[in-house]
Symmetry: C2
Subunit: 466 residues, 2 copies
Amino acid sequence: MTISRLTKAVFGAALIASTPLAFAADQPALEDSTIETAKMLRDAALKSDVAYDLLESLTTEVGPRLAGSVKEQEAIDWAVAKFKSLGFDKVYTEPVQVPKWERISEAASVVAPFAQPLTITALGKSAATPEGGVTAEIVHYATFEDLQSANPDDVNGKIVFISNRMERKIDGAGYGPAVQARGRGASEAARKGAVAIVIRSIGTDSHRLPHTGGVNYEEDAPRIAAAALSNPDADQLERMMKRGLPITLHLDIQTKDLGTVEMANVIGEITGTTLPNEYVVLGSHLDSWDLGTGAVDDGAGVAITMATADLIKRIAPRPKRTIRVVLFSAEEIGLVGARQYAERHAANIEEFAIGAESDFGAGPIWALASRVNPDATFVVDKMAQLMGAIGVVRADRIAGGGPDVGQLARVGMPVMDLLQNGDDYFDLHHTADDTFDKIIPENMRQNMAAWAVFTYVAADWPGSFK
Amino acid sequence: MTISRLTKAVFGAALIASTPLAFAADQPALEDSTIETAKMLRDAALKSDVAYDLLESLTTEVGPRLAGSVKEQEAIDWAVAKFKSLGFDKVYTEPVQVPKWERISEAASVVAPFAQPLTITALGKSAATPEGGVTAEIVHYATFEDLQSANPDDVNGKIVFISNRMERKIDGAGYGPAVQARGRGASEAARKGAVAIVIRSIGTDSHRLPHTGGVNYEEDAPRIAAAALSNPDADQLERMMKRGLPITLHLDIQTKDLGTVEMANVIGEITGTTLPNEYVVLGSHLDSWDLGTGAVDDGAGVAITMATADLIKRIAPRPKRTIRVVLFSAEEIGLVGARQYAERHAANIEEFAIGAESDFGAGPIWALASRVNPDATFVVDKMAQLMGAIGVVRADRIAGGGPDVGQLARVGMPVMDLLQNGDDYFDLHHTADDTFDKIIPENMRQNMAAWAVFTYVAADWPGSFK
């Protein structure tokens, strides 16, 4: 998952949607059959390993799938083949133009006063250092804001080190403040003359597995190499700093920008009965960072959304609306697939009844938030009630729709958030440790159960969420 | 820690030492002042961060310290300087001839059917692959014993993969059975024509941080490259194998043997009053593997033993015997420093009253075992009683003395084992994750407290443990 400024904008949107509401006069009621089918699906999902097995397949047979790479194309082919073999009614792709970036090599070491190697990873889209690397003294800032207020004389010619620590929170709320260092640090440092930047990983673990993630270069700044130290290595550097001696680092980051390539969003549909041209969108992203196999980010979301639609197709009466599962391309490097998708479909946004996204790992869902017309709130409340049996509460917040589906929210689609427990998500996020062994099958089933309730009710209730 | 066949031999030794015994007529009694001082030291240790701070210093200022490397020499210099600055009575080194081996690079990938990189590390002392690496189909064995009974026709030309999983146990008992694959797998595979061997890491974690550790090449077998997959990567390979397709790996391991260099065991002594030529040996090892900074293996032992002797020197009346802290060189690559130490001192083994070793991480001590003359058992029982207040029980097993100090046990020195809780030791052991951030200060204090009791009582009681 990438959390963008756009998501924040959506979160901050003015709609107040969660006012408790009884049945609204101008909206159709929820039929008993819809509710009974949703319950049946929920209970069946709790016994289904389809999501778990799909995730096993994607992470094992494709593995890492960096945006724009041969491996992302393999993932696209995998998804098309899976949708077809599951018997979705429509399976198709829509082209996405994706900037291609490659990690070649990365190395860092303390040169003085305590020579030793450091474990780092280049941030996604990082520029390379000059061949052979750069050697310079570090200048330390506790936060991005401290770097912003730094005197350029202190930064010029140095390697900037930002050491801010991400806080662990169930909803990942610690990410936003800490990730400024990753997204904006490089350009801020470069404007002040830094030759490179290293940050403490934006993550909550203590393993020597650094967290990558996109860096955003701004137009007015030179592009300097940007890398993340593993958290134990950042600790080590901080311990060294306590000795009060100048610290010299060597940093050798080799990467390549390889222009633009064509990838694709992959779409699988279960066609609705009476409202086939209205869509309930289930979003997730097919690309991953290159270090792990993208099990929690976002293979889990791919598997949960595919398995949910598959379950409905297999064992439920067809709902009225079409269920559209969209697997976005190139999320990690800037929501590329989702932005192009929203642009392509903005003119027809009326057809998009409601959407949600699964892109926060494989922890259980604990809360349900919405951004819908108040007239439709009673439907969301009913969903939450149906999910109560599997530990879900109605969240007192406005849904954002997630980074990708949030792009459709921006152009007018109502959204819901099926909020997952992310206590350990940022232990794994964007690291080599994001692998299938971390996945707990029961949690995949619980996710499917919640998604089945949302999807079926949203697709079978003929009223408007807008 | 390396667990050797020698340690096993010591464990299996015929002496039955733990028969409960009251006061023995031909041995002096334990004086009240000895017991009172031991209590005082124990309680003072629980408030001391000297061990924690020494470990912080070693891991931060030296960091990784591979046997025979410039970094091991730095560690030797660090230890000499620390002993001196702590004010030990005698500080000296004894030369050790150490085989020098270097890791240059390591890479592995699945070539087919599911192309993707794998995380591996060369085993310690591994031979290199031919330049550019080897590409071959894998042949899988669940255990070393399965490889032993394999038909050479099945192995010839292949890369052997042994997937045995180490079991988690408080005393590390899962290590011995699993580590056969690491120590003996390469030569067994090579005799049957294998071109290389990869094993599941001998470790209990699920992180993408492979465990290195020594490989033993036998004289009658070609030396093939040997590497460990991280546990998640071994899982991945096993998942691929379930598809029933042949799996081709590429493995590129570059290492160097660089002959023999002179390193040193470092010794610091607190001279005894009335029995200055009798030694209580506190052992640990100064070298570490190169991947981490050797915090749990065995910086912790270095710090605990140094800090224990220092505490006694600072706040207790001098005991009768000399306390000799020995920091061994080059343990990881075959107990090199300890073997040479035992050889050098075997003729004077009568001077070595008793010894113990700290080389099982930084977990709390939970049990006390001994291998002493039955006449001296009452002294050990008293030590255990004094340690009862900090959670230590008398262990119903015969002490081995640890890998290094066990070399002195073999030539006649009585030993004790201050057994540490090793539940999570093999999560970190021999990985890049063996770093200072994993150390819990309270546990270092508890270790010091137990060591202070053992050391003071052993040094101040004038009877014989032999």
